[in-house]
């Protein structure tokens, strides 16, 4: 888990913290902007109200009236507002600034000449001192001169300042919460994953395929993953088990012919040295070794088909073509025994199968059917479509299989009483069934002693 840079948990944590911080900052910006605009709006209203007062005084009797009333008013107005009256050409006629004049930069204000186009012009000027600005409203008076009223934005600045400080603390708290919460969340979310890792490490280290991980009761992706993982372990375990069994079986099945092989050689060595005896023994040995090889290959095929390891090249296969090939292969063999081979097939039957394997299946069934039929018998293959499968029947008029033997004919190397006298390994039907099952189909048999047997294959169409 520690391999290669940051762990997944750390990354999850970092992402969570980043998201919390970004959200806080966005929230702050919105709140800040809203607050700023609200307070500024209020300041403007105050300034404008004051401006209206002065304008009214000016309207009563011009500048003298304004100055007179201005001097008469209570201290608050003079202390709070900046007032100036300018001649139309810009020369100052009257000016009053609150005591803290140092904070208002008049030069700056002068450089910004009032614009005639607007009835009311707002300006915000930075002050010399930090954190102080001025909000100035300029209005045109009826006689063409200018009236300017201003107010420091100190209160606004202070408020925003305070807001920023508070927010700073809140942001710090959010950050801590974000990191801690992220860590907690990551830990909590990844707990099942860590458990999974633990289980896998354990399985790899000890080879105990029966270990399972507990499935969380959450019914989400993680519990799904855990369930799938357990299923996979289960499947792997079964596969290994079956392969082990198959290996045991193969080893067991090979012992008999190998013993025979050794026996042949031993017997020849014990007898009188004689070229003909040795030749015969060597021929026996060679035939026996061919048998071992055939057996091994067939057993491998059966095991592969049974464990699902057999590679099937599944294609749409025209069944009638395959049947024709197979009946043709047995043409002479059937003729020799005077056995009639007939095929009753629906036209255009298509099955999804591995062509070679399907051929192998039919060859095996035909071989049996002819082998166990007496001279003059009949072998018949028929195939008909069903809604989602094709049913192929290979019927013979042969010896039939005793009822008590039927369940055992599919077993590997099982040979019924009758079949022992015939050539063969006792693997044909096992292979047939394994291949058909690997195709997703199944096979059944009906048989009556003395009347014959029918092998019925069910192959899926798709």
């Amino acid at each position: 888990m520690k391999r290669g840079g940051l762990s997944f948990a750390a990354r999850l944590n970092a992402w969570f913290a980043v998201v919390v911080i970004l959200l806080s900052v966005a929230l702050f910006l919105i709140a800040y902007l809203l607050l700023y605009r609200t307070v500024q709006e209020r300041d403007r209203e105050i300034v404008q109200a004051q401006l209206e007062v002065y304008r009214a005084w000016y309207a009563e009797g011009g500048l003298p009236s304004l100055t007179k009333r201005f001097m008469q008013q209570e201290g608050s107005g003079r202390e709070t507002f900046f007032v100036r009256v300018l001649a139309p050409e810009g020369a100052a006629l009257f000016a009053s600034t609150p005591r803290e004049t140092g904070s208002l930069n008049l030069d700056e204000l002068n450089r910004l000449a009032p614009n005639e186009a607007f009835a009311l012009v707002w300006r915000t000027l930075p002050a010399h001192e930090q954190r102080k600005g001025w909000l100035i409203a300029t209005a045109r008076l009826p006689d063409g001169s200018w009236l300017q009223v201003g107010k420091t934005t100190e209160a606004l600045t202070a408020l925003l300042m305070q807001f920023r400080t508070v927010f700073g603390w809140v942001a710090l708290a959010a950050l801590i919460l974000g990191v801690a919460g992220g860590a907690w969340l990551a830990r909590r979310t990844l707990a099942p994953v860590r458990q999974l890792i633990g289980t896998v490490e354990n399985v790899i280290a000890t080879g105990q395929m029966d270990r399972r991980m507990p499935i969380p009761q959450t019914n989400d992706e993680i519990s799904n993953l855990a369930r799938l993982f357990n299923d996979m372990l289960e499947k792997n375990g079964m596969l290994i088990q079956r392969m082990r069994e198959a290996l045991d079986n193969v080893a067991h099945d090979l012992r008999t012919p190998l013993t025979r092989l050794r026996g042949v050689a031993e017997l020849a060595l014990q007898s009188e040295p004689n070229a003909q005896t040795c030749r015969d023994a060597l021929l026996d040995a060679m035939e026996e070794s061919d048998r071992v090889l055939t057996m091994l290959n067939t057993l491998m095929d059966i095991s592969e088909a049974e464990t699902g390891l057999m590679k099937l090249d599944l294609q749409p296969v025209p069944l009638n073509e395959v049947v024709r090939e197979v009946t043709e292969l047995f043409e002479f063999v059937a003729q020799e025994k005077s056995i009639t081979v007939t095929a009753a097939l629906s036209p255009n039957l298509i099955v999804r199968a591995d062509r070679n394997r399907l051929r192998q299946v039919l060859v095996n069934l035909f071989d049996n059917a002819i082998k166990y039929s007496a001279s003059g018998g009949r072998v018949e293959i028929s195939a008909e479509p069903r809604p989602d499968e094709v049913v192929i029947t290979v019927r013979d008029t042969g010896d039939g299989i005793p009822a008590e033997e039927i369940p055992r004919i599919w077993e590997r190397l099982y040979r019924g009483d009758k079949s022992r006298s015939q050539r063969g390994l006792g693997l044909g039907l096992s292979l047939v069934r394994a291949i058909i099952n690997a195709h997703g189909g199944h096979i059944e048999v009906q048989s009556t002693v003395g009347e014959g047997s029918s092998f019925v294959l069910h192959l899926p169409k798709q």
């Binding site: 090889l293 055939t294 060859v363 095996n364």
Partner: protein, 224 residues
């Protein structure tokens, strides 16, 4: 013919080499891929027999390098792997034939002959004949000692195959491959039956038998 055998198992290599020498071939041996590569690059061989599992450079890579260097020697691959995929892979990189271990030497010999014949591109004869037996590939007429023999298609195909390999043993696997185009052994007696039918037509009425069963190997067409 000059044959290169690239095989690391000493016993198999010597048994193959001895058999090939007895059949009249000149044999060079290499016991690893790098050695085999050099032999193939510096000498001309009519055919090479290559095991796939070799120490050092493996058989497939060796064949690939030969082919990259324009070495066109026909190659028979020997392998213990019998799956269709392995066979296909072997033929894709430039092998010309594939034989699974364990194999019958007679089969290896027959496959070598087939490859040499194919690569020497001799003009296809229209008539095959052996002793007093002739088979016309165009009119599909078979005669023995002047007497016409009627054969069915499979019988004709089998006789043609035996005649092409006259004097050499052909295995049941090879017959299945060439006469029926089956690449698995169905473990049936169909070949025995076909051979006995052919015998009935070609040999029964004649004193000198041509078709012989070689127990443990297969069949051969020859005069005793």
């Amino acid at each position: 013919m000059r044959v290169l055998v690239v095989e690391d198992d000493k016993k198999i290599a010597s048994f193959v080499a001895r058999g090939l020498k007895e059949a009249g071939h000149v044999v060079d041996m290499a016991d690893c891929g790098d050695d085999g590569l050099n032999h193939g690059l510096h000498n001309h061989y009519d055919v090479a027999i290559v095991d796939l599992m070799l120490p050092g450079l493996d058989g497939l890579s060796m064949i690939e390098r030969w082919r990259a260097q324009k070495v066109k020697t026909p190659v028979i691959i020997l392998s213990a792997k019998r799956s269709v995929d392995d066979r296909v892979k072997g033929l894709q990189v430039g092998g010309d034939d594939y034989l699974t271990k364990p194999f019958a030497f007679s089969e290896l010999l027959a496959r070598i002959q087939a490859l040499i014949r194919r690569s020497s591109q001799t003009i296809e004869p229209t008539t095959l004949s052996y002793a007093d037996l002739t088979l016309d590939l165009l009119s599909r007429e078979v005669r023995r000692g002047g007497k016409k023999i009627e054969l069915q298609a499979r019988e004709f195909a089998l006789l043609e195959y035996l005649l092409r390999n006259a004097g050499r043993v052909v295995s049941k696997t090879m017959i299945l491959e060439h006469v029926w185009d089956y690449n698995f052994d169905p473990k049936t007696n169909v070949i025995d039956v076909l051979v006995s039918r052919l015998r009935g037509k070609v040999d029964r009425d004649f004193d000198r038998k041509l078709i012989h069963t070689m127990r443990g190997f297969g069949y051969v067409l020859k005069l005793e």
